[in-house]
Subunit: 97 residues, 2 copies
């Protein structure tokens, strides 16, 4: 695998890694058409808020989601809708088993 190609797949793998966690997939689903705060998401999932913050940070770093501060809340929304198409294919994969 040559260097340029290797780098290309490394970058893509980072995107898949960012999505490869049930909580992060849930986040994407939850904020796909309404924005939610860290606290709201935390309550929906039922984990520690610091853990939720770190999951959001991973998605934010890749600009898959965006957060806007409003009062002392941060509301997140989905920035890359084509991510949702991934899901349909993922379902096909799951149904094959």
């Amino acid at each position: 695998m040559n260097k340029a190609i290797e780098e290309q797949y490394l970058d893509k793998a980072e995107v898949f890694k960012a999505l490869a966690h049930p909580t992060r997939l849930f986040i994407i689903h939850a904020i796909k058409d309404k924005k939610l705060s860290v606290k709201e998401l935390t309550e929906l999932v039922g984990i520690d808020i610091s853990t939720m913050s770190k999951h959001l940070d991973i998605l934010k770093k890749h600009k898959i989601i965006l957060g806007e501060k409003e009062k002392n809340y941060v509301y997140y929304h989905l920035a890359i809708p084509c991510i949702l198409d991934f899901m349909n294919c993922a379902i096909k994969v799951i149904n094959k088993k």
Copy 2:
């Protein structure tokens, strides 16, 4: 997050995890329109053949790829072409940064 939903995202996350490695993304690209043996893939990537075998096993377990034995080679090909659409979205994510 209720139990049924949690399970749903757990299953999907497994699919993303299976794809979340540069070598495995390269494999998918390499065999998308021609089948290749473990040895051929190993030489293209430049890793230990046992490592390649394990990467293929991960994709095979999810039926993302299929292998057919021919002589003493095993030729792999892509079983779920919609995986390739993921890549185009992944590129959009990468270009946002």
